[in-house]
Subunit: 375 residues, 2 copies
Amino acid sequence: MTESVSDKRIVRVDLADRSYDILIGPDLLTSAGGETLARLDCRKVAIISDVNVAPLYLDTLVESLQTDGIETFAMTLAAGEKTKSFDNLTAVVDFILEARIERSDAVIALGGGVIGDLTGFAAAIARRGVRFIQVPTSLLAQVDSSVGGKTGINSRHGKNLIGAFHQPDLVLADTTTLNTLSPREFAAGYAEVVKYGLIDQPDFFHWLEKHREAVFAGGDARIEAIAQSCAAKAAVVAADERENGRRALLNLGHTFGHALEKATGYDSARLVHGEGVAIGMVLAHEFSARMNLASPDDAKRIASHLKEAGLPTSLGDIDGDLPPPDIMLDAIGQDKKVKGGKLTFILTRGIGEAFIADDVPPSEVLAFLTEKHPQ
Amino acid sequence: MTESVSDKRIVRVDLADRSYDILIGPDLLTSAGGETLARLDCRKVAIISDVNVAPLYLDTLVESLQTDGIETFAMTLAAGEKTKSFDNLTAVVDFILEARIERSDAVIALGGGVIGDLTGFAAAIARRGVRFIQVPTSLLAQVDSSVGGKTGINSRHGKNLIGAFHQPDLVLADTTTLNTLSPREFAAGYAEVVKYGLIDQPDFFHWLEKHREAVFAGGDARIEAIAQSCAAKAAVVAADERENGRRALLNLGHTFGHALEKATGYDSARLVHGEGVAIGMVLAHEFSARMNLASPDDAKRIASHLKEAGLPTSLGDIDGDLPPPDIMLDAIGQDKKVKGGKLTFILTRGIGEAFIADDVPPSEVLAFLTEKHPQ
């Protein structure tokens, strides 16, 4: 599924008439116009970015597009998880309509997962769907949110509870943009890289254990890790686009993770998404061990790897107070992966052996959270 | 495609795993619980209605559902086209999440097209899609908006410019509810019935010319007209769910119609959707005659039939001032059926011979509007 063309990799996501390419490599921003026109006949684009990313990369992107004759409109939003709001959705959709972006034109998300999720949702609902190009500039977005078509915003009831499935038409993952990430942001994205190994690719996890430093340093190992992650996600998405089954495996660590993000008020100073996933993956393995499904050694081995990568691995690693366990359980119940009162979790029988458990008793989760709670 | 079971008709919409039944007949509200459980295993529903419809039918629907053990939550909104706003969308989605409607539960739209479009859009984006049941209580909604999965809200840039494709899981078209419609509302819905004849079923149009009074009086002729309309729409939708081609035929009369709705500020005292479509269909036939595609006699014959049904058929039939022709052309350009600067219209070669023209010169439309403008 991956092929190498000069210095960039191409991962194809196979989804019938919604198939698309993910390009991964250095300096893709400067060839964005050509790569776009090679795949889409679009005359006009609306670019949505945020105040952190736009000053670094917007001019380069706009210049590349305009050189190839594509008319551009750009809108810059505040950065951070709170940007995924109904108010911003309204504003972005209005901007798209104001720019008269037609169904055959495109909307481009230039930024991390927040910009990608919000912009993709706006592209999904403007004119009931216009074309969408992801230009992810964080590691998290390159390996996760830009692949697979999940878009959305947050609600006071929880994260990503409002959204749509809307596949991109093209993803340009310019690895040069990762050089400006803070170590904390890079580590947060790395949690999702590790996730693919834990789901069903134990060899990839073992490779990461050996090459973690090289991946953090950049260069070929980093590109390899991103391409492997995109290919792993693409395979799962191709098999189950709308999450009726197997795709739920991608939520490994996310049920606990989302509850922690809610518990910390989506305050990125305390916890970002990838950090919530890191803790969530350790909790999922610990909970699996508690249910006698997996060895407790796996949870320890994973926690050790994530800790070396600079990630938090337990509730106690989060600054400040957390809500009591019953409130956290309530947040888990409000998460969208719920069926008939029983909780759905991704549990595991060991590294690379994750599975969907849709009959987890809330009482067991409450007892587990109480045990793990630092208070 | 239609079958008769006791006194109700069933029209099946064939859309692979999104196929669903439209039930048409008297007193379906009182058997809503049973009809729902016969098709969907749902424990909980959120019902969205408006202040006109809820007092008449909400109690009956709730009682039927509760008798069959389905938990119900109900929300009542203001009536009218202005209800299709981002603010109401936010409120409805929040209500759905607050009620903890899960993906396998359902949201029910009890009302006309406005409630159906808004509620369907909310059901499409809450948890990225929950089940959706349409209980249309206007003729317009029974023959048009409740069939086919188009959902959406209005924008300051135009009507239905924000939305999603989200198929219902069931449509309950209770013909008893039509007895409380005003003559004006019934006539507005009738415009869409006529449309199906004009698109590709000349025999149905001739049948309507003979049976118009019986359809207005109620009884079997009315049920027949509704079932024929639903079957006609279902056939088009099944062939082209996401409007990449043939489905655009359903927009006969709608490009002019939407522009007129915008020109009258979505003020239902001046013009409702079906009236806009009635005028729009006449204009589409007149414009086709002007382009030497069809005989001017067809436009006259259609206008005569619509006039007998109590519908407006020309710009001069609209109360109050209209914007000048160039502003109306601009509204047409902002309508979503635009491709590369040329206008897309549904034109015709005669009754039942509509076709998609995607290269209509704006200058011709401007000249035509100037000629038809009453000022």
